[in-house]
């Protein structure tokens, strides 16, 4: 009987040499006359252990990580193929690794377990149960279930998904659309990429359910060009689902149509803003639209459109399968269900951590993350992407909850966390935030287009010590204009990292107490 060995083909593993490891395993097994069945699974999200090789045994899957191709021969010597755990890279049963065992995997239930491109594997692990439930329901009942689950937009804005869907459901139109925002451009985020590469069918299923719910027959997934593996996985999975009758003119044999297409972005960060994304699908410059009208009423090609993030749509199947109450039972306050925390940057154990809302930042940083990668003290963490605030240690006991973060003038956003150790220069990072805004602004509104460039200049003067107290006042005034006068979150939230850096780390800006008063 052959031994089943898993080597992830997720791009995080590939970027660390997983293809070379897989080739070395195949070579070594052949040389030793050992029959193996090599499966290219997705990632478990334990990215600090990638490439993480797993071997099937009667006791479950035994893990080995971080594996380099040069380790493979020694791993076979130590009995890898028999699931022996004597080698120093052996991790024991993967599902008992505390980092994974302590998580609540709802949206990411199958990631790393299945072959991402196998529909059979997907269905064997609970896939398409949500859709089979949805086809027996009216659109209004599906929308009601999503509303009752408490699911809020996982892209960052946290708008209740069910309410958005209800607006589209009630908008009269011949043609409606489901658009998935997979333009995951924020540093510190990779959960969308993991879903698309490691479990693409769950996104397809979620979008199909959304289509049935609101009466949309066509969907688009807008994926950034930096994610070629995700695009390939989605295209493959769409073909497979279409052949199986789960997409197309007659979804699951129930006489309702839903077609799906992947559109590739072209390296514009602003296209992660929903209206810019719609413009881009329409073949135009990714320039932000003024709202109203809401995309739910006049979205893609002027038609009612559900536009949701990957994770919002990928959370829908489990809600339909297990019920709104099941999902709603996780979480705290008005933050229901689970949040896929993405722990990144200068951290020892970076990866994906799906947990019910409510855990504190400190637990994430130390219990899961194990402290900084450099071994130096952690200085600041940026939560919610490049437009999120920097939090100093005094704020790390905040629970992961949308409202708790808002109360600190911070954003939980999509749950991306980037860690910086004490070598970080916060004034440099504040300057970077302005510079990034200047590079990526769509240019439509003045506060964002011009304000970001002026912001870089002002911070340069502050760092150089030129009329520092006056320049700090100017920077605050500029941030006020950007916050209140920008058309979208690009200009409107760039002040979050800038001002939080200034407020919590004034010494990095060369400020001493009383500076601003003296101006």
């Amino acid at each position: 009987m052959s031994v089943r060995i898993h080597v992830p083909a997720d791009s995080a593993a590939l970027a660390l040499g997983a293809d070379d490891v897989a080739a070395a395993i195949a070579r070594e097994a052949e040389r030793r006359g050992i029959a193996i069945d090599l499966v290219r699974n997705g990632t478990r999200g334990l990215l600090y252990l990638e490439p993480l090789v797993e071997v099937d045994t009667p006791e479950g899957r035994i893990g080995f990580g971080t594996v380099d191709e040069s380790d493979v021969a020694a791993l076979f010597d130590a009995g890898l193929h028999q699931g022996e755990s004597t080698h120093h890279l052996a991790l024991g049963p993967v599902e008992q690794i505390p980092y994974l065992a302590k998580q609540t995997r709802l949206t990411f239930a199958r990631c790393g377990i299945t072959d991402p491109l196998s529909l059979r594997d997907y269905e064997a692990h609970g896939g398409y149960r949500g859709l089979r439930q949805a086809v027996t329901m009216t659109g209004a009942d599906i929308v009601a279930a999503v509303t009752a689950s408490g699911l809020r937009g996982r892209g960052g804005a946290a708008f209740p998904t069910g309410i958005k869907w209800n607006t589209v459901l009630r908008a009269p139109s011949e043609q409606k659309y489901i658009v998935c925002n997979a333009d995951e451009g924020d540093s510190g985020t990779f959960a969308d990429r993991i879903i698309m590469e490691s479990d693409p069918f769950v996104l397809i299923e979620g979008m199909t359910i959304a289509g049935l719910a609101v009466g949309a027959t066509r969907g688009y997934i807008y994926v950034r060009s930096e994610y070629p593996h995700a695009i390939a996985a989605l295209n493959h999975a769409i073909q497979t689902a279409t052949r199986a009758g789960l997409l197309g003119p007659d979804v699951a044999g129930r006489g309702r149509a839903f077609e799906l297409e992947v559109r590739k972005g072209a390296g514009a960060y602003i296209c992660g803003e929903e209206t810019a994304l719609l413009e881009s699908i329409e073949g135009k410059r990714g320039v932000v639209r003024a709202k109203p009208p809401l995309p739910a009423l006049a979205g893609l090609f002027g038609q009612p459109t559900v536009i949701n993030n990957v994770l919002s749509l990928a959370s829908v199947p489990v809600i339909l399968d297990k019920g709104a109450q099941f999902y709603q039972d996780f979480g705290m306050g008005r933050s229901r269900g689970t949040l896929p925390v993405q722990l990144a940057g200068n951290i020892k154990n970076g990866g994906l951590i799906e947990l019910a809302f409510g855990v504190t930042l400190r637990e994430i940083l130390y219990d899961y993350g194990g402290g900084s990668a450099s071994g130096r003290p952690i200085k600041a963490v940026q939560v919610g992407g490049p437009l999120g605030a920097y939090l100093p240690e005094s704020q790390w006991d905040t629970p992961l909850d949308y409202e708790a973060f808002a109360a600190l003038w911070a954003v939980l956003g999509h749950g991306g966390i980037v860690v910086h150790d004490d070598s970080a220069d916060m004034a440099h990072l504040a300057r970077y935030a302005m510079e990034f805004c200047a590079v990526e602004s769509c240019g439509k509104c003045t506060p964002c287009r011009i304000g970001s460039t002026r912001g870089v200049e002002v911070i340069d003067k502050i760092r150089a010590g030129t009329e520092r107290p006056q320049q700090v006042i100017l920077l605050r005034s500029l941030c006020d204009t950007m916050l209140n006068g920008s058309l979208c979150a690009m200009g409107g939230m760039t002040p979050y990292p800038v001002l939080s850096a200034l407020n919590h780390f004034p010494q990095d800006f060369g400020q001493v107490a009383g500076d601003e008063l003296a101006a």
Partner: protein, 168 residues
């Protein structure tokens, strides 16, 4: 990569347009897919293709030019044989991304947004390759590499140069 012959480029673009058209018509929403297909085949979008594209899509030249220049991904000049994209975003900065960029520029003798004199290498910034938990990350041609130290970068380049010499 050298600029392809104008006639070759025209034929390639003509084929791409024919492939994307429905009943001889091209909706504007197909402009990005067409531009991607052209760049995939030619390595860049030749500026003299703009007029033909505008006609095919029933758009003004300004509109087509506006789209091409809005998106960082589209190139209007022939690319280097090997483009190294270095991630400049926060997570990579927190793990020595700035030092890595300096090392890359020094090793290749090439500034950001520039080509080496022989056209062999170009260094470009990129804002996030989605490898933030295993930073810093770079992309060499179309392959992403994570946890890149200066030493690892040197090895990757050496491997690349060897492979190129073998194929030549």
């Amino acid at each position: 990569m050298n600029a392809p012959d104008t006639n070759v480029a025209q034929r390639v673009i003509g084929d791409i347009l024919a492939l994307h058209a429905h009943d001889g018509l091209l909706g504007q929403d197909l402009l990005l897919p067409v531009l991607h297909a052209i760049q995939d085949r030619l390595g860049f979008i030749p500026p003299d293709a703009v007029e033909g594209l505008a006609q095919s899509f029933n758009l003004s030249r300004a509109e087509v030019h506006g789209v091409i220049t809005f998106y960082h991904y589209y190139k209007t000049t022939p690319p280097a044989r090997c483009t190294v994209q270095v991630c400049r975003a926060e997570a990579c900065q927190s793990m020595g991304g700035d030092a890595l960029l300096s090392h890359v520029q020094q090793t290749l003798g090439c500034d950001l947004h520039a080509h080496t004199a022989d056209g062999g290498f170009a260094v470009e910034p990129v804002y996030c390759l989605g490898q933030c938990a295993t930073a810093p990350a770079i992309m060499i041609i179309d392959a992403v590499h994570a946890r890149v130290t200066p030493q690892r970068f040197d090895k990757l380049v050496a491997k690349l140069v060897n492979n190129t010499e073998e194929t030549v």
